[in-house]
């Protein structure tokens, strides 16, 4: 088993009059694990189905190792799919489910039994081969579904939210198992999910989709630390937004003071030090940040290279080890953890280091 490269080139798909994919292009290297991430209705499952051949494409091409498979039937693409509902056949045993693809390929009985046994032991399903799939637990069914796809030794494995029916605890471990398996077999994998953490943990690169378009493609570190748009920043958890007015000043950004925040000089250097700036940085900006990046300071403090927001404690709690405060700032609430004890009503500063800020033009049309 070895992965092949996969190229999606300008693929457009519509359902009746509604355009679901508006010209999507992705290059996947052999053996790479790609996650298609997005909220429901963004087109991620449609993209997977277009790649697998279950959905005809209106325009564009799908290439497997430079071989054009755009119009090839689903079974002639060297791809095997794991379905969200597992789609196991309830009248067959686990072994029959796993061996079905081999039976279709007319693999001899002895060889078939050997490969089914091999696949089952690879997935930790030893001894369950003769059980009907209806007698298996959710986690075991998920493995059978994976085994059925892997048994035919595909070059590309397509995973359509295969973990969404598992409970949280099992999901954690199965993530790592699938990833380890994919690396061991060196097959190319495309994984559809709406779970950010799942995509981060499993994928080599993440493709974030927004209304049928690719919002960003990048490594987990890239999309997390360097989102290229307001949408990606919010989707990756930096969903607190404050408006800023700023002016570019060589390698830094001068932020003017307002009722909500103090003035500041923020580094926009590349790397870990500076803020993630998209656009010129002049004029009205939308600053995104994650609550966990914030810490509390005195209202009068002005730590260098950080932005200080003015807020008031409206609720306190002690989850253990650290205090958790609900801070009101201009009518919006933020949860901020801090080791210092404060009381309800205290005025505080929320300190945001430059590197925790993602800055986008407030009006996206000015981005270019």
């Amino acid at each position: 088993m070895a992965g092949e490269s996969l190229t999606v080139d300008g693929v457009k798909v519509s359902y009746s009059d509604v355009q679901v994919l508006a010209g999507v292009s992705i290059d996947v290297a052999p053996g790479e694990f790609i996650a298609l991430l997005g909220s429901s209705g963004c087109g991620k499952t449609t993209l997977l189905r277009a790649i697998s051949g279950f959905v005809p494409v209106d325009a564009g091409r799908v290439l497997v190792s430079d071989r054009d498979v755009t119009n090839a039937p689903p079974d002639k693409r060297g791809m095997a799919m794991v379905f969200q509902s597992y789609a196991l056949w309830p009248h067959m045993t686990a072994a029959q489910n796993i061996g079905y693809g081999l039976r279709l390929r007319k693999v001899a009985r002895i060889e078939l039994d050997r490969r089914v046994a091999e696949t089952m032991s690879l997935l930790g399903l030893d001894g369950l081969g003769s059980r009907l799939v209806t007698q298996l637990s959710g986690g075991q069914r998920q493995r059978v579904a994976l085994g059925r796809a892997l048994a035919v030794e595909p070059q590309t494995l397509l995973l359509d939210e295969p973990l969404s029916n598992l409970d949280a605890r099992i999901r954690q471990s199965v993530r790592h198992e699938i990833k380890a398996l994919q690396q061991q077999l060196q097959i190319t994998a495309i994984h559809v999910t709406h779970d950010r953490e799942e995509a981060m943990v499993m994928a080599d690169r993440i493709v974030i989709l927004d209304r049928g378009n690719i919002a960003q493609i990048g490594t987990p570190e890239d999309v997390y630390n360097r989102p290229r748009s307001s949408f990606v920043a919010a989707f990756m958890g930096a969903d607190n937004v404050i408006p800023l007015t700023a002016k570019r000043d060589e390698g830094a950004l001068r932020v003017s003071a307002s009722d909500d925040h103090a003035d500041a000089v923020l580094s926009i250097a590349d790397g870990d030090e500076g803020a993630n700036l998209v656009g010129t940085g002049d004029g009205e900006l939308a600053a995104h940040f994650r609550s966990e990046a914030a810490r509390l300071v005195e209202v009068s403090d002005r730590p260098q290279g950080s932005l200080v927001l003015f807020g008031k404690v409206i609720q306190t709690s002690y989850p253990g080890g650290i205090y958790r405060y609900t801070i009101d700032m201009g009518g919006r609430n933020y949860l901020v953890d801090d080791p210092k004890k404060l009381a309800v009503g205290d005025a505080v500063g929320i300190c945001l280091p430059a590197q925790s800020l993602h800055l986008f033009p407030a009006n996206p049309t000015e981005a270019s």
Partner: protein
């Protein structure tokens, strides 16, 4: 403790009162006539129990009994085949127009009563009927070579035409309710449509097919108009013989014996069905 018993007693009275009308209807209109005809089948005219009616029935009509079994069984097999083909195409067909047309067309015979269906077939299958006219018109046969289909073949054709939509309706519904991704996963592994139908879909809708076919079997066993109108010769079906014994001779004894034999035939089919149900229910 007393009041608890009283409540229990009251509840039983009420629940019995609620099912009573249904029970009485079933008893009067079904159990009683069935029991009466069974008793009458074993009764001699001069009183006492006898097998004479059955002996006479077998003497006169053993060919018809065989004929009925063969006709109804053959029709059931053909109905099953066509219903699965229709359901399969509706589920797996890739040409949306053909699927839509078939979906619209296949149900029509459902709305046509047996007697009208038989009349239609008389004009269609006769020696100079519509079917032969079409064949002659297309130049495939000479007028002298044509033959009438108004015999056992006509009965089978009518039964299949009339009952296939009923079974197809049930089967197509069951197929449509299967998780679509079960079909896609087989397709993804390279299964052809015919293999998907036989290996993936049919095993899962088998109970529905069996129910549909058993109901059709029972209905066909009881149809009088079709054999009377299409096959006015011997051998013929038991329903015709029963009508004849009663209308021509007032011979209820033999008619009831024939009825009892029909009942046994459907009973065997029902037993097969129940046995399957028990087996499925018992499966862990």
């Amino acid at each position: 403790m007393m009041s608890f018993h009283r409540v229990l007693h009251d509840e039983r009275v009420w629940s019995f009162a609620l099912v009573a009308p249904a029970l009485v209807t079933v008893g009067l209109l079904f159990i009683y006539p069935l029991g009466f005809s069974a008793v009458s089948a074993f009764s001699a005219e001069e009183g006492g129990w006898t097998f004479a009616n059955f002996i006479k029935a077998f003497d006169l009509y053993s060919n018809d009994i065989l004929f009925t079994v063969v006709i109804v069984s053959l029709s059931t097999v053909l109905i099953g085949f066509f219903a699965i083909a229709i359901g399969g195409y509706l589920t797996l067909g890739e040409n949306p127009y053909a699927v839509a047309i078939l979906k619209w067309l296949y149900r029509w015979p459902l709305f046509i009563p047996f007697i009208v269906a038989a009349q239609l077939m008389r004009t269609f299958l006769a020696k100079n009927g519509l079917m032969n006219n079409l064949i002659v018109g297309s130049g495939l046969l000479e007028p002298m070579q044509t033959q009438s289909f108004l015999d056992w073949r006509g009965i089978v054709i009518t039964f299949v035409w009339k009952q296939t939509p009923f079974v197809a309706l049930l089967v197509a519904g069951a197929m449509a309710s299967l998780d679509r991704s079960m079909i896609e996963s087989a397709r993804n592994l390279g299964a052809s449509r015919i293999r998907i139908l036989v290996e993936i879909i049919l095993p899962q809708v088998r109970p529905t097919i069996v129910v549909g076919l058993i109901l059709s079997f029972v209905v066909m066993m009881s149809v009088l108009s079709v054999p009377i109108m299409i096959n006015a010769q011997t051998p013929t079906m038991l329903t015709v013989d029963m009508a004849f014994r009663i209308n021509a001779y007032g011979d209820y004894g033999v008619a009831n014996a024939l009825g009892f034999i029909s009942y046994l035939m459907t009973g065997v089919v029902a037993w097969i069905y129940l046995r399957q149900g028990v087996r499925q229910g018992a499966a862990p």
